[in-house]
Symmetry: D2
Subunit: 140 residues, 4 copies
């Protein structure tokens, strides 16, 4: 069975991401994944967030799971790899890995389940077939 393509975004850790333990603060990992998704929606899927908003849709986070493996340091170069796992009604499950660029070792991995909502009603809405068809182009 075809699997959705994995895309990668490179980032550099900023000093303001570092916390009292001298490593990247836990919650900033979620921000890194969000940055990668925005980047990949535009650059890889050719369907930026603005396209969704213009059609009256938005994405909200339903659940998030993350497993921390190795700490990240100030100024470290990282790779954020994300891919679509599956669609179900209004939900899409997106998996991610955050890797140390220097050696490819895993720093964290997990997933987000995002729900499509109508910006007019604020309610969840089944993801239209044309959206899913668009993503199906990016399988391997």
């Amino acid at each position: 069975m075809a699997q959705y393509k994995r895309f990668e975004t490179e980032m550099i850790v900023r000093p303001d991401d570092i916390d009292m333990n001298n490593h990247v603060h836990n919650s900033r990992y979620l921000d890194y994944v969000l940055f990668a998704r925005y980047d990949q929606m535009t650059r890889c899927y050719k369907m930026p967030m603005e396209d969704f908003l213009q059609q009256g849709w938005a994405w909200v986070v339903k659940t998030c799971f993350i497993e921390f493996k190795r700490p990240l340091n100030n100024a470290e170069h990282i790779v954020v790899r994300t891919w679509i796992d599956s669609f179900e009604k209004a939900d899409v499950k997106v998996c991610f890995q955050i890797l140390k660029k220097e050696n490819g070792k895993l720093s964290a991995e997990g997933y987000f389940v995002n729900t499509m909502i109508s910006t007019a009603s604020g309610r969840a809405e089944s993801i239209p077939k044309k959206i899913i068809d668009h993503y199906i182009q990016y399988t391997e």
Copy 2:
């Protein structure tokens, strides 16, 4: 079977917590729980983080799961409720709920699994019986 006590910490949403969607940014929920744990370790469990550090131990986050239910607004008063679920070797599972103070409705819930490490070795270390015994005082 006895269950660990649930403690509550009150907070107020800050403007810098709000993101482009006009609600509290997803990753800030993790920061709220961290604030509540520090507060409750000192105020409720009478065993502040400093006590662990002085004994050569620290806690690192192993995994985190969060489910978002209702958005939070700027200046909103919230209650962060946390409790110990269980201990296993070097790990403790801590559950949390973030509630809207005004009406008690649930904004988010989830859990953290934290691992005790030796600050000298950086390695996981079984949580000592005396620590677990300390927490057992706070059951109901």
Copy 3:
């Protein structure tokens, strides 16, 4: 000559405000002042930000100056004192002090110059006399 009243807002430092130097990160001081202003606009001046927005106005930061005196620690209780210094055309200069609650010592002080803009045009607009008159009630 009458001076504008000074108002105070209490806050508690959060763990996510702490940086690699184990003190509150420099940029978070600006966030503390912003929190205090939102609080004081509502609670002290009885003219919350929403009132401005409803009338088609918003405030943007024009300049900011801050002098750091003493570091702040995790979980520290602080007092953010702010007051209006002066109005000039579209600008208001607001001064602030951030104090350690325990001993009243100064942690930082400075000012913001904020410009009133029309949300429709995005352009600066002279602060209306009725707004200035409202603030003049709060002099001493």
Copy 4:
């Protein structure tokens, strides 16, 4: 009279930098400058922060002034230009400009005054001649 060289660091705005006004939050500008300084200390001046720490010195922010000119958007490419203005006893004044990469327009500018401290005593210490001589290599 010779002037200190101006160095540039490129960055991309992250979604978590955006606030309720749909632009980069004011305090994040300070974080951008901090990132650029760390980068330039290593890459341009060949004297990374670690070198200072190893010699028992650290830098703390004494004052900061910033003037906001044009808002920045999510995913925007920016250039952070910084340069040394002058040394005085324990202080160095560093100026900065934040530019929109697309058109070179100024988004913000200002300065930081940083004080060198001894990490042992925590007290300000006159910047040693050898440090100043090092920076003098980077004049134009």
